[in-house]
């Protein structure tokens, strides 16, 4: 740098001296003064050069620095613009396929500034034309009040808002609000629950996951339920049809994945529309699938048989005497479909013999039975992600007679979701998997082993034969290899059972050669019709519901209809003597 500066100085010096050497035309006379002025000018010039030089050096240094530095942290203008995310107060709820079940939408609430209104009558009349459900006197009073702010109506539809805007009255103004919308209306209402006007969850999943749904950091992450809305509709539709046909007081149904415990559909009737909770009573809000506990009758025989087979108490070849009703202390145990003969074990199951099952339970023993039901989680409330979960009812003092009645599903009341969970365990190879309403990403979950896989296989054969040869024939959806068990229980009343008031149910699983889903249907006090020859039992009322649900849902769930391998059941089928004529 110094070298450069001196060379520059020299060159300027040189040039200056050259000019000086030449006879300067402007300083002929006073050469001295001229010389002085020249040297002054030269030194000034030198300063100027130095200044320029310095600044160029600075610029060079800066250039080099920039060259070595990291890319600029400051981004161009266009990158500074961010799209502000859509804000809403509560996370969505979607089904397993991402279909929206509950979402928050922006709505507007109408308020007015009455001081800005000139013609109250005109404004009132025009507003009433658009919003006819407002009371005219009320609106007039509000608009004439002379206050600065009055609410007129909360949560207008977009169309109403547009029309109010079109009135062109500046006193009418809108406040942004959010509304919880359930696009599917009544469908899955008991699972979803509902919210109050301020968006607090009051029932169902909305209540159970209230904190998670309101959590600011997770609002953009919807809750994914295990429900499949298409299957849900198939179930609700069929239950509703059956409920109407049999004039039942209520109905409940459930579809569950046996390998993951996911509840694919859950319906309880009568139901409600969560979009409009006005006038909805406790009866509609009651979730029969989880909160309701019922004596479910013969479906419980499955557990008795599984326990007995798992403890090697019985085998297919054993026989039980069902010739006459069984007397235990002051009770009589009778059969609904009496055969009045000695029955083989598969026959006891297929013909749903209470007498035979009670004897099996006695052979099994009270302790084993109790332990087995505890293992299946039938003696404690289900862990389902709902707050409306009912606790099972069973005798505190488990006597011999309790053992016998519980073996065929009387004297113990459990919720349908517990039963479905238990049956899932029976058919999936013996793994107990807690029921859940949250979507799981895997389609296989390891569970606690309750029964041996070989026992599960035997139970599957029995369930299938109860449909092909026994009481559940109406559930046989051709091609889908349905297995299942009917259940008909009389309702308990003060001082005994009411023979007329039944809880008819059917629990089915399909396809039986590789079970994937459990389907449950229950009707509360159904009445027999001409089509059912006056019967109101589970095999006549609930089994067709299960059949129809399977026919409708199986293609959606990816279960393909194939011809059945009869060989799977051949050995057991041989032990069931008189096939029912259908």
């Amino acid at each position: 740098m110094t070298m450069l500066a001196t060379s520059l100085a020299k060159s300027s010096n040189g040039r200056g001296s050259a000019i000086g050497a030449k006879a300067n035309p402007y300083c002929l006379d006073t050469a001295d003064i001229c010389q002085n002025a020249m040297s002054k000018a030269r030194s000034r010039l030198l300063m100027g050069i130095a200044a320029f030089f310095l600044s160029f050096v600075l610029m060079g240094a800066r250039t080099i620095e920039l060259g070595f530095s990291e890319p600029m942290a400051k981004r161009p203008v266009a990158h500074q613009v961010v799209v502000e995310p859509v804000e809403f107060a509560r996370a969505d709820i979607v089904d397993r396929n991402g279909e929206i079940l509950a979402t928050n939408l922006e709505t507007s609430s109408l308020y007015a500034n009455p001081r800005m209104i000139e013609d109250v009558d005109l404004a009132t009349r025009k507003l009433i034309e658009i919003l006819p459900d407002l009371s005219e006197a009320d609106v007039r009073n509000k608009l004439a009040s002379g206050r600065k702010f009055v609410w007129l109506k909360r949560k207008l539809t977009p169309r109403e808002k547009w029309e109010v805007n079109a009135l062109g009255i500046p006193a009418f103004q809108f406040e942004r609000e959010e509304e919880r919308i359930y696009p599917h209306g009544r469908l899955a209402s008991h699972v979803l629950g509902y919210v109050d006007v301020d968006g607090n969850g009051l029932g169902g999943v909305e209540h159970f996951f209230d904190a998670r749904l309101n959590e600011a950091s997770q609002r953009h992450e919807p809750i994914r339920l295990s429900l499949d809305i298409r299957v849900q509709y198939a179930l609700a539709d069929e239950l509703e049809a059956a409920m109407r046909a049999h004039e039942a007081k209520g109905a409940a149904g459930l579809v569950m994945d046996v390998n993951t415990g996911e509840v694919v559909a859950m319906a309880s009737l009568p139901d409600y529309d969560p979009n409009n909770m006005r006038g909805v009573g406790d009866l509609e809000r009651f979730n029969r699938v989880t909160k309701g506990v019922y004596e479910l009758g013969s479906t419980f025989k499955t557990f008795t048989f599984a326990a007995a087979m798992d403890h090697d108490v019985i085998d297919f070849e054993d026989e039980y005497d069902a010739t006459k009703p069984l007397r235990i202390s002051r009770f009589w145990i009778r059969d609904d479909h009496p055969k009045a003969r000695v029955l083989t074990v598969p026959e006891v199951f297929a013909f749903s013999s209470n007498i035979g099952t009670a004897q099996i339970a006695l052979d099994l023993g009270t302790d084993q039975q109790k332990e087995f039901l505890t293992d299946l989680g039938l003696l404690e409330p289900s862990n389902l992600e709902l707050t409306e979960v009912g606790a099972p009812i069973y005798p505190a003092n488990w006597r011999k007679v309790s053992t016998m009645t519980i073996s065929y599903g009387h004297g113990i009341a459990v919720s349908p979701v517990q039963l479905a969970s238990g049956i899932a365990t029976m058919v999936n190879g013996g793994r107990h998997i807690p029921a859940t309403l949250i979507h799981k990403n895997s389609d296989w979950v390891d569970g606690r082993q309750v029964i041996k896989p070989s026992t599960s296989q035997k139970i599957r054969q029995l369930l299938r034969l109860a449909v092909t040869k026994g009481t559940g024939g109406n559930a046989n959806a051709v091609g889908y290899r349905v297995g299942g068990k009917t259940g008909t229980a009389e309702k308990a009343e003060a001082g005994g059972y009411n023979r007329k008031a039944l809880i008819s149910s059917f629990i089915g699983a399909f396809p039986m050669d590789n079970p994937r889903y459990v389907v449950f249907a229950l009707l509360d006090e159904p009445k027999g019709t001409r089509e059912t020859h006056g019967f109101a039992s589970g095999g006549w009322t609930a089994a067709p519901v299960v059949k129809n649900v399977i026919m409708r849902a199986a293609p959606l769930l990816g279960v393909s209809p194939v011809e059945e391998d009869e060989g799977l059941y051949h050995r057991v089928a041989m032990m069931i003597a008189d096939k029912k004529k259908r």
Partner: protein, 147 residues
């Protein structure tokens, strides 16, 4: 010549100043455009939320069933109507030994050809030629002969 250099420099300076100004305005315009697009995206996202909700309202299964009953003659499928594997579909176009380049093959004139056709039939493939195409091919053959 030297006198023009400052003029030129001034001109260049002016021009570049004007260009920078121009650029600044252009950037401002662009950035305001970007902002308005961002605003639009935000509005659209809100609209999409509403539309999604509306879509799921309008395609709720009960609604679809109602429409289907009213406008379509569709029924729930029977299990016999569901084909488990594509192998059982009766006729399948086998591309490899299909239509030879010579269109004459399709004509059933010679004694050899019907046998070929029969062979295909036995595989479950039915060849159908519309009358129009048949006529065309015949015509072409005639033209070829005439030439």
């Amino acid at each position: 010549m030297r006198r023009y250099i400052p003029l030129l420099a001034a001109g260049v300076a002016l021009l570049s100043g004007a260009a920078v100004l121009q650029l600044k305005y252009a950037v401002q315009e662009q950035s305001s455009q970007v902002k308005s697009i961002a605003r639009q995206i935000h509005l659209d996202q809100e609209a999409i939320r509403v539309l999604k909700a509306e879509w799921s309202y309008k395609t709720t299964p009960s609604m679809l069933q109602d429409r289907s009953l009213r406008f379509l003659a569709l029924m729930p499928p029977h299990s016999e109507q569901i084909i488990v594997s594509p192998g059982v579909i009766p006729f399948r176009l086998n591309v490899d030994d299909e239509v030879a380049p010579d269109p004459g093959v399709l004509l059933t004139t010679g004694p050899v050809k019907p046998r070929a056709k029969k062979k295909r039939d036995s595989r479950g493939f039915r060849l159908q030629i519309s009358e129009k195409i048949k006529h065309k091919i015949e015509q072409n053959a005639q033209v070829g002969e005439a030439l």
